[in-house]
């Protein structure tokens, strides 16, 4: 394994925070007590939390060590399908920390915060321009909340037409958040199968779409990495029966400047700024899931919205049809600044180029690996491709084992066991920021792992061996939950 990325090195152990420290230490400065101590009523006074007391160096070492147990995009290739783990530019982080921006208080009048409003306004406009949609709200904090916004808009729309609808069509390739978000609005998901080409049949939509169905929620490109070629026809059917079309935009990275979402017939969609627009995912967030709509649905968008009058930006609250607020303020603003910074840096040409290269990289991986791993849908793909562990079954090796062995080779594994329609799915999304040499090295690593699966499956079953910890007992964690120290 010497020419591969992964190797072993010195890593430090580190206990839990409360296993360190000594009462009386301080890890940060205190402010000056320049006023007299005030009396406090005993009935409201508590004891204060029993936190460990640490020094500054305790805290610094604790988190420095913890960080070294992690793998990020800056460490290496992170081909986690459906997650678009592209490079997160450092300049975006720096600009989000601009003191005037970091100190902007959201309860002040519009005149005091013109700069912040400008960023919000411009980003709304940019995302509309990129998708082809007409209006955007940046409030949703992540993709799932964007979906919720979308479903609330569906419901508000149907309500406004006096129509009561209880079902929604959702393909079986959909991400779990789709049915969960729909359910939050009282919709019952109706499952739509995909066909042998990995896409939705017009026919199956036509069969299921009825006057009790609020519409359809689809992902395009879908989670198999395939473009839903029938989308226009599907949308026409849904529209004809009074429904709306929701587009899960998690996979927008495949189609910027190439596909016009509105022209596809989509009425509402969300974007994941922490995927397509390069904001760091932070080990689980914060993200941002702006919701984009066609003109007819604009009145339902969350309030407040940033608008521009002449040269002045202001927040508009008075939208009686709005679904209301989804965030106490304006969403994850510091994430929005980063996405704005990314779009300003890329411009129209490079956004399109990014999509082209993302698709090129995925097809390249697909082509180079298709002999080694089973490819259930051997079609040109978009930004990601989905393999399975079928060929390795004879060796007693499963997707999980392949994934874990890739860790030893220095890679973050692909997304596994999703989408559900592919048993043992291995979903690879390289993104456009990976260069050919790095893809080649990854391909070699996968091939090596596949070879090991044939020759010495124990290497996979025992993997990973290089990481600080080996496989973790998830059953035990769930059976006797220990959720705090």
């Amino acid at each position: 394994m010497n020419d591969f990325l992964g190797t072993s090195g010195l890593i430090l152990n580190e206990p839990l925070l409360w296993e360190k420290g000594k009462k009386g230490r301080r890890g940060m400065s205190m402010a000056e007590a320049d006023v007299p101590a005030a009396d406090i009523a005993p009935d409201i006074c508590g004891e204060g939390p029993d936190f460990p007391d640490l020094s500054e160096v305790d805290v610094v070492r604790h988190y420095t060590r913890l960080s070294q147990w992690n793998y990020g995009v800056d460490t290496g290739l992170y081909p986690l399908g459906s997650c678009t783990m592209k490079y997160n530019p450092k300049i975006n982080d720096k600009l989000a920390a601009t003191p005037e921006i970091a100190a902007a208080h959201p309860m002040l009048g519009d005149a005091a915060v013109q700069g912040a409003l400008r960023i919000i306004y411009e980003l709304q406009e940019d995302l509309a321009a990129i998708t082809g949609m007409d209006a955007v709200s940046l409030q949703p904090s992540a993709g799932a909340q964007g979906e919720l916004a979308g479903m609330l808009i569906f419901a508000a729309y149907h309500r406004s037409r006096g129509s009561v609808r209880t079902k929604i069509l959702i393909p079986d390739t959909a991400h779990g958040t789709n049915p969960a978000s729909a359910a939050l609005c009282g919709y019952r998901p109706v499952s739509l199968p995909c066909n042998a080409q990995g896409v939705l049949d017009v026919q199956s939509v036509a069969e299921r779409m009825d006057e009790e169905t609020a519409g359809i929620m689809l992902t395009n490109p879908n989670t198999l990495g395939i473009f839903e070629t029938n989308i226009r026809r599907i949308a026409e059917i849904v529209h004809a029966r009074g429904g709306l079309v929701y587009g899960d935009g998690a996979n927008m990275n495949a189609i910027m400047g190439i596909v016009d979402i509105k022209k596809c017939g989509v009425d509402v969609m969300h974007l994941n700024l922490h995927k397509t627009f390069s904001t760091p995912h932070g080990g689980g967030g914060p993200g941002a899931g702006p919701v984009c709509v066609v003109r007819e649905l604009e009145r339902f968008l969350p309030v407040p919205r940033a608008v521009k009058d002449g040269e002045v930006y202001r927040l508009e609250y008075n939208r009686p049809d709005s679904i209301g607020r989804l965030h106490a303020f304006h969403g994850n603003f510091s994430v929005l600044v980063r996405a704005w910074s990314y779009i300003r840096s890329m411009g129209p040409e490079n956004l399109k180029k990014a999509s082209q290269l993302a698709v090129l990289n995925a097809n390249y991986i697909k082509e180079r690996l298709k002999g080694s791993l089973h490819l259930p849908y051997d079609l040109p793909c978009m930004h990601e491709c989905v393999f399975s562990d079928k060929l390795q079954h004879e060796n007693g090796v499963k997707t999980l084992d392949i994934a874990k062995r890739l860790i030893d080779y220095g890679y973050h594994p692909p997304t596994i066991y999703f989408p559900l329609v592919v048993p043992g799915a291995i979903m690879i999304e390289p993104t456009e920021t990976e260069c050919r040499d790095d893809l080649d090295l990854f391909v070699e690593a996968v091939k090596k792992v596949v070879q090991e699966a044939g020759e010495n499956p124990q290497l996979l079953l025992q993997a990973p061996v290089r990481s600080k910890l080996r496989r973790l007992d998830e059953t035990r964690a769930a059976r006797t939950p220990c959720l705090r120290g």
Partner: protein, 444 residues
Amino acid sequence: MRYLPHTREEITEMLAVVGKGSLDDLFASIPPECRFDGEIPIPAGLSEWQLNDLVRQIAASMTVTPDHCVLVGAGRYHHHIPATIPALIGRSEFLTAYTPYQPEIAQGTLQGIFEYQTLTAILLGMDVANASLYDGGSALAEALLMGLRAVKNGRRVAVSAAVHPHYRAVARSYLQSTGFELVELPFGPDGRTDFSSLAGMTGLAAVAVQSPNFFGVVEDQVAAAAAIHAAGALFISCFSEPMAYGLIKNPGRCGADIACGEGQSLGMPVSFGGAALGMFACRQEYLRNMPGRLVGETVDLEGRRGFVLTLSTREQHIRREKATSNICSNQGICAMIAAMYMASLGGGGIRETARLNYDKSEYLKGELVRAGATLVFQGPTFNEFVVRFAGDFEPIRRKLEERKIVAGLELGGSYPELSGCYLFCVTEKVAKKDLDIVVSEVRA
């Protein structure tokens, strides 16, 4: 473009491998009627240097700057943030990782979140905390939905009118299409919630109270718990200022079933309201109804302690439409920051800091009253309070703004009945000398 590594030759070679003649050919499957017309209508790309200039310009258009003394909280609080926190959280192994689906190479995030859950549970006096929700608003909404799941035949929830108006708005949005009813409880002249209307209510699943509430008033949560439990409902204790629990009784001590709110105060910048941190904790018995991710302790193959995402059978990726919530990505880095901040303060430090917030706020309150202002509510407060001035305060406020002090928030927008009343916030960051300027301008 520096983010796009492909050279022209590489593109050509790779296209040959995939059997395409051009980049456009990769998109052959896309029907013409779906195609984007022309170029994306956004401005041309900027260099890093042009972008820096633009942001400098944008920053300059912010008239309230970091040098201002901002006596406004109302859900977002100016606290000191030590330089260690940006330095540590900026480590790219934390920042550029995804959700820890592969625990062997995500132990940093996982242990960090486990510690966050623990410190949060301690701070709030609750049994168990989750790995975060989006913000204080959606945390409240999720708490209400959780109450509706947990309480049989629950079909109605109540929220105090003294809960942050924006949180209430978010809760209304979340509930609008569920068929459940959301009622509001009024507040009394002491600024505390009036629970008298609970008595007769049927189908009540949960009641949410914020403390300190939007007016800064510390609710009588022990009494609240009694009234709410008597009505057969879960007691949701909500907050926008967790710093308060360094000094005042925490939700758990007061009998809360669920504690939820906004964690920005714990080491995050005000940053125009986001990134935010939805904190969420509950009593053990409601664990399986809890929304959001959870990190749990376990062991690895060799018996060494480690951490994993757990109890995910509650979640969307397993349970889909039957999940306890639709949340997927949460506010991971914000939770890590909160843990770093709590760890940096320690038990001693949070007590001292909370105490300073209280003392400084009490100081301004006392001085303003002495200068002729009227306290609108009589209840005890933490670091925010509401006053009314004898004359028109706006000219004074403008004058103070010229002196780089933002003096309070007028409440008429959210509470028409409180028009002309001002909500002041004083944290440990504010110097007495600035408070004295406010008082002397009020006097003048």
